[in-house]
Amino acid sequence: MNETSKIRVEGLTMAFGDVVLQRDLNFEVKTGEVMVIMGGSGCGKSTLLRHLLGLLEPASGKIYYGDQCFTEGGLDERRAILRRCGVLYQGGALWSSMTVGENIALPLKEFTSLSERKIREVVEFKLAMVGLRGFEDYYPAEISGGMKKRAGLARAIALDPEILFFDEPSAGLDPVSSRHLDETILELKQSLGATIVIVTHELPSIFTVADRAIFLDGKERRMVGYGTPQELLAHPPTEAVKAFLTRNYTERIDV
């Protein structure tokens, strides 16, 4: 077993009923690296993320976290694994009946024995880390989409997760905010030592943050690229990858 592999996916096939979305995925995410899952719309990127988080069951194949098999684990084992993960959902997915501060405090209250005052300290710091100082008492409905996303990030890092998942982190953000978020991701990687898995189709993000990337082809329904973004750009394994990474729309492509 490879000590440094944080997540390993073996022969994963994702399907909705009889419709196979992706067949036989094999890849691993090493400790401390940023892995980007890319591909065109509808290729199963977000679905793959949902499989990694146990929100969907694979049609076949296994997912390992370290040495533990996630897909075959019981509820308690899965929960223990997921507690080491933080997830930033596409729209932030803040709980709308709670203030931003309460959203971040909830996991801290549930899973640590910190005092109220300590929790407030941590919440304040996490909000500061995402550039939202002083927004504790706002309800999600009162802040903008970009702020919701950042608050969602603060919630995702509330418990200092070992693994962070991002679903389209820059979708719906302006270039500057999106750039800022990319920087925050890199800083989190360095300061928390977290392993990061990102689903995105944003080119600048892929090249700035990714250590390695996989490319899912929606038409061929399999993973066609696996390597650093630079490698993939230098030697694109298929036309689809090339078109995606060079934004070349001259040929008709179906991704």
């Binding site: 640590t112 100082r133 200092d160």
Partner: protein
Amino acid sequence: MASQEENAQVEFSEDGNRFVVRIRGDWLLGSESPDASGVIDGMRDAVGSEVVCFEVHKETHYDSVLASYLFAVIDEAEGYGHTADLEGLPERLTRLLMIGQKVPEKEGVRKGTVVQTSLVEEVGNTSLKCWAEATELATFTGECVLALGHLFRGRAQLRWKDFWLILKSVSVDALPIVALISFLVGMIIAFLGAVTLKQFGAEFAVAYLVGYGILREMGAIMTGIIMAGRTGAAFAAQIGSMKVNEEIDALKTFGISPIEFIVLPRLLALFIMMPLLTLYANVVGILSGWIVAEGLMGVPGPVFFLEMNTVVGVGDFLLGIFKACVFGVLVATAGCLRGLQSGSGADAVGIAATRSVVAGITLIIFANAVIDWAAALLGV
């Protein structure tokens, strides 16, 4: 790595103009550690110091709990005009802190404490809200009437496919629950008669009670209440989520009237189906009343229906059906209006659904009282 676990500790002292904070032990999310108030108090007393510096013991284990702690201390120190010296901190910790300090807090963003409002202010605000609500209702009603006008001139932007789907969901799909409730209500009325009429030996009169009760009142009311809970709430939730999803705005920007496109089919569907559902509820209710009359009180079927026929007339039946039409419009209006008024967010949609049911039921009972009064005056 595997050193002894040690409780989180903090000490502080003044050293000339330096205020030194010494950290050791385990500062982890999973363990306990002091909060920043101790050091902050100490700092307030240390009048001579200008610089806050830190010493972190090299065997300290920490995660963002320590960063949060230091962040709070530094924040406070800067509030006193002190400068913070991060020299003594491990690099990883400094880096974490720097992320937090990168974006300063925006002026005036923090929410202050809620100011207590006086009674007068409260009354004023509530009246204004009531007035706004009334104008909104009036506007909505006006728009609905205009939309109906468009419909009759054949110019309404209405999707008939939607209309048929809604028609099905408010009729066929509602049959089982309407049957169950009216069956039970019919029985309840008959039981009521059984207890009271037996004392006068007038068991046959249970037919009047069931006939009047179901046809004039309970048939329409119970159907209306079921539809308010079932369909009115569904309308409010559907339209509320459409609003959250900006679908209503999308309609408006295409120049399509949301009233015609969304409200009109629902209004029409309930207006058409409520009388039919009530008719169905009447039949079921009377049959269940008869079952109790025959089974419990020994009133034979022919006697039951003959008695009913002599007293209860077509007028009573029509009154019930008229009520049903009114209730249908009220339930649809309450559902659609509450849905359109919904705010954004999961909470708001839930509130809209609740309010539509409350409004629907209140309006039904209120309208029923008004119609009964009018009927009594007119001698129907």
